[in-house]
Subunit: 336 residues, 2 copies
Amino acid sequence: MNNNRITIRDVAAKAGVSHQTVSRVINKSERVNEETRIKVETAIEALGYQPNAIARSMAKGRTRTLACFSPNLTDFTYASIIEAAEFEARQSGYFLMTASAPDSATFSLLVEQLVASRRTEGLLLINPFMDERYTRLPQFAPTVFVGARSSQNTMDSVFLDDEEAGRMATRHLLELGHQSIAMITGPLQEDCSQDRKVGYLETLQSAGLPPNPTLILEGDWSATSGYQAVNKLLAANTPFSGIFAQNDRMAVGAMQALREAGRRVPEDVSIIGFDDMPLASYYDPPLTTIRQDTFSMGREAARLLIRAIENPEKQRRNLRMPVALVLRKSTMQCSS
Amino acid sequence: MNNNRITIRDVAAKAGVSHQTVSRVINKSERVNEETRIKVETAIEALGYQPNAIARSMAKGRTRTLACFSPNLTDFTYASIIEAAEFEARQSGYFLMTASAPDSATFSLLVEQLVASRRTEGLLLINPFMDERYTRLPQFAPTVFVGARSSQNTMDSVFLDDEEAGRMATRHLLELGHQSIAMITGPLQEDCSQDRKVGYLETLQSAGLPPNPTLILEGDWSATSGYQAVNKLLAANTPFSGIFAQNDRMAVGAMQALREAGRRVPEDVSIIGFDDMPLASYYDPPLTTIRQDTFSMGREAARLLIRAIENPEKQRRNLRMPVALVLRKSTMQCSS
DNA sequence: ATGAAAGCGCTAACAA
DNA sequence: TTGTTAGCGCTTTCAT
């Protein structure tokens, strides 16, 4: 591994110019004579010279690298946001260091090693809900929240219109004639779970329906938790003809439990999910759901972060992203 | 954004020592007196000093950063490998720059910007099947293939035992009495599709069954392609009672097509998938499949890469990872 | 055990 | 237009 340890000076020597001129060429500076530029480019080609990005970062004090932390990299929602952010960042010449931070200890360590150490110039924080995270945020690098509002005005954020989403899902079931609508929430310490719940409660209230606490169950986003929630619901013997699951995985778990209990979807129970995950339309029945545009979220988050890095004087923004109802076959007119 | 532009020299001044001594302290060098160490640590604490990783990289010629490219970041298989690799890398003090390289132009650019530029010390290449990629590999940094054998001995690789997987799936259907077994492959330019096909053909042959070309359909891993493949199969009017889909998404698409055609799974047609994707057990019926251990793959890939970086003299390895049959409800005894 | 000097490969600022 | 001189913040000699 002799490496292409060819430096700007080797090129300079070969081309018979100063290393600075080489620097001007690789930086596409205007102030360089056509002839010398060609000489330099020839030398670069001949030697196979590649600029050293670390030395460049060192000299310029900029790494053009962003950090991106999320609870994990496998949930489709996260992965999709990251993919979009990476794509958008690259358009602007930035790269992404990704890491999963399942707990706050890991998170703090990552902030120190990737952000405080100046390896990266900013942080994209996906689902920054948990525990003491908020207190461990980077001190000197801009941060963008994805999936949660930033409470202060010191930070950008991109998040869903979760209240409206909760209203939308609930309204859909109401319009189909359902009166007893159960809801399976995500972990209630997460803003989005709370907001969707608010939308649900509001909509029931507007319809003059009192909320029934036994119809509200807390899940943890997993299919298993949706499955268990429905079993609990069935055991409670409270009648219900509709379910609003705050994500598709829990909806799928719920469908499984209903199937096992001999309740048909949608004939006996209508169910609406959230996310529009891949293959949501391949379940039996295809899942009616609320779609979020993860691509736009990732893209906007990256844009905001780069803007915060390059124009720190501009005001921070909080982008509320729209959601959409996707009608498929898991909901229908209430028959009871 | 005044930044914590506190340098080693500020700390040195505050502690009344040379900057070199500070360097020794932060590098946990033995050769430093207890008292001075405490003085320095106090100064570090007081000033909130954070070592600059870029300057460190510059001086040491090492970035402790790995690049990881995959066709995308959202396919569960890829995401899961990346997550595991990132986790493993971090255990050894390495970080990961991830990027999706959907085509070879992007790939070449990324190799240049992330690897040739020495931002990263090695490359993890997930599914390096396509086009001219092989010719654009990094010249001076070690590379590990994930999901394909490296043909030369100059590179590590981690891949599935795809032939055995193909045999396993086919044997399972044969043992259930199925004689007409269709197969939906992935893109045939990918090694794994080819290898799984070889396993399928071998197993049929051992059973004395001649392969039927109309029963072999090429998909592109998408659910839609599985759906279309089955429709083509039905249109061809060739009888079949079993399907081996080379991934779960295509299996799910296939189930959809069968459902629409009024064929029951597994009563009329048994179907086995591949991957054991999340929620595979939540379909109706729960999907029998071949499981791959993506976590181990990512972990081993990262280990191999770090080994190649730190011990380049050691021989490259090609790890063939085992797969396992996961029995669920989408296959049953052949009734015809 | 500690310090001084040199240098990693580049860019910025100033001269020529 | 080009070259020279200084760093960027750290580590690595080599002295002391």
